[in-house]
Amino acid sequence: MTTTTITDSGHDSHHDEGSYLTPHKGGAFATIIQWATTIDHKKIGMMYLFTVLGMFMLGGVAALLIRAELWEPTRILADGTITGQLFQSDSTSGYLTYNRLFTMHGAVMVFLVIVPGAPATLGNFLLPLMLGAKDVAFPRLNLLSWYIYVLGAAFAVMSLINTGADTGWTFYTPYSSSHAGNTYGNIVMMTTAAFILGFSSILTGLNFIVTIHKLRCPGMGWFDMPLFVWAMYATSIIQVLATPVIGITLLLLIFERVFHVGIFDPALGGDPILFQHFFWFYSHPVVYVMILPGMGIATELIAVHCRKPVFGYRAIAFASLGIAAVAFLVWGHHMFASMGELANAVFSALTFFVAIPTAVKVFNWIATLYKGSIALNTPMLYALSFLFLFLIGGLTGLPLATLATDMHLHDSYFVVAHFHYVMMGGTIIAFVGGVHHWWPKMTGKMYTEWVGIVGCLLVFIGFNVTFFTQFFLGLQGMPRRYASYIDEFQLLHQISTVGAFTLGLGFFIQLGNFIHSLIAGKKAPPNPWGGLSLEWYIESPPSEHNFHAEPILTHGPYDYEDVYPPHCDPADFPLPEPKPEGNAAH
């Protein structure tokens, strides 16, 4: 029970020397070719990480420009809007620049950053490692999904160059099908981008489900998997079951836009609310595609840095599946202001069911802290920030699920703040924490700890200043997607803008820390945090083949009470008194 049989059994024929990051012997060009044609999940994960990071910067710049525009309640008739002047658009185009910016921010952040973010980067990198596998089940499909992602990103950027779409990321008809834009190209391109990205998402999800089913290492039963893997499993189920519906939705939207088939256009007898149903049948479950990996990452971070077995392992695992199941029942709460009364009541009732597994998870995370050995390093600070922000995000979801209050808060800044607390405070914060946590494993380099802590604090403070004020804006009557507003709201908007730039600075510091680590970071030990899941058994960065021999699992991922972490000085991680024999069985 206290040792592991994960050993290098000397199958030298299997592995070459050096890590997966070792450049190709044929020079830089050969290395690029090697990466571009790799089917190694780790390389693909890293490629995803850098493309997602690039897209995150694009979306982030758009966000900062949005906040800059809202510094003043500008009037186009007076002297033009701030963003309008910045991009020298003439005053007749009104708020188009702003509208395109928030559309780009939304579409890029949702379709290109958060949805593929955690699953395709950390998931790709870690899933086979945590399962003790050599690769994901379909490595070539995995590479294909990265190329599809890049193609989708290219379409999104092309749409942006082609004046950009101004429909909002939700593409509501009939505005998107018949009214938006002066050219056909930009909207169709953005829609095509989202359509293509759906394929990438489906392939990743499908790949992960099969990997989890078929490639767990010997000895690993379903309840010996790390909870991150459980979260990825639930995520993948949603990706596979929900994404095809956005495929057909966007396909019909393109038909609508090009041929005016009329299914979603009331001018031809169609029903715009039907489009919303189609859209949210995917886009609500996809909210859980975004948050579930974040929850999984947070679980890992808390367990490792508290050195505690996760409290209620099965409850968390089943809560993940529960969230995935309920995800398909609640999409109507995005449409309370446009649906019929019966549907509103039913969807409101169903929406509350999401709160239950989510609450269970939060309780379990907090309970895990009890009597642990909590290290307050950067990843743990991110995990604690996640708990704080996600709790606010979850609790502010309650008045949005309650019909009487949602009729006021719907489509207001309250909603904006709520989903930023969940999507950004939840997913992005956990994701960045996860990147810190596994950075040594991925790159073989340590980052500078104090810079990480400073960055984390800036992000945490900036985030709260930005978005907490927006709750008040929404409650007081500030609608979404407004480029100019009544003067009463200016103070709160300015506080929010200051917060946004603090947040941006925090991320910028993190980025600098990573770049510095890549160039001049200390070499990372195989197991800097004392983790117990399988990825910590191999060197940092891992070799091309992950494990030198097939690992055989002998302990659970969270047996911190009984097992010394591998590659660590046991004195650093003392174990409690052994359990009395009588209670050994659980």
Binding site: P218, L274, F328, M339, Y558
Partner: protein, 244 residues
């Protein structure tokens, strides 16, 4: 937490699938079975066409008032049986790993939710205000979509698109253009219309939407579009065929 599994570890069956029954190997379906199934499928196809024709006959010739759902229920039940045969035998779900059936059932579950909850909204708008149920103009308000109109060339044919704006439905607009271009009388149009719609006799007594074979005239759905409860309704009502 672990350890028991490691003791009985079998490298060829690392997850104990043999015990769980997860490995089902390769089932070879017999020719006899395949031929039986294809014959059943062909017979069911004949049956579904036959029932559909029989319903038409019953309604048209015998004057039975079959409710609308009979048609759907019969056709869909037969389709379900056919689909089940293909899935279970041809696609071998019956013999294979139950996991595949579970995947398929989950997919059906998602489909049912999609259909059911969407229908719950789309078909239940009028509980508080009945005037929320219907479209103001059956067939649409008229094209209002920054669409240039004019002519386009598709498959070597020149097609004239409707102008950007007309009021009422596209079908009505096309009809008006046709009458204007050909200069035919309303009666002549109705004769040609009945011919094109394969209606040789008028069964006015059967023209209820609750029945099969409901079609007798182009205005069936128009008559019930909006109740005239308020003074403003005259402006919205489809008789004047104007959006606002």
């Amino acid at each position: 937490m672990k350890a028991e599994t490691a003791k009985t570890f079998d490298p060829n069956d690392p997850h104990g699938f043999a015990e769980l029954g997860e490995h089902h190997g390769h089932h070879i379906t017999s020719t006899k079975m395949l031929i039986t199934v294809i014959l059943i499928l062909v017979a069911l196809t004949g049956l579904t066409i036959l029932t559909s024709e029989a319903e038409t006959y019953l309604v048209k010739e015998m004057g039975w008032a079959l409710p609308e759902w009979v048609n759907v229920a019969v056709a869909m039940s037969i389709a379900l049986v056919k689909g089940a045969f293909v899935l279970l035998i041809f696609m071998a779900l019956r013999y294979e790993n139950p996991l595949y059936s579970i995947v398929f059932l989950f997919c059906m579950f998602a489909f049912a939710l999609f259909l059911g909850l969407t229908g719950m909204d789309i078909d239940n708008r009028g509980h508080v205000y009945p005037w929320k149920v219907h479209a103001i103009n059956a067939g649409g308000t008229g094209v209002n979509m920054n669409y240039p109109g004019g002519t386009i060339h598709v498959l070597g044919e020149t097609i004239t698109l409707p102008p950007t704006t007309y009021t009422g439905s596209l079908a009505n607009h096309v009809k008006e253009v046709y009458i204007e271009q050909t200069g035919i009388s309303e009666d002549e149009y109705h004769r040609r219309w009945a011919e094109a719609n394969h209606i040789h006799e008028h069964h006015d007594t059967l023209s209820s939407p609750a029945r099969s074979i409901a079609r007798t005239g182009p205005s069936g759905a128009l008559d019930e579009a909006v109740p005239g409860e308020h003074a403003q309704d005259a402006a919205h009502s489809p008789e004047t065929n104007s959006g606002h």
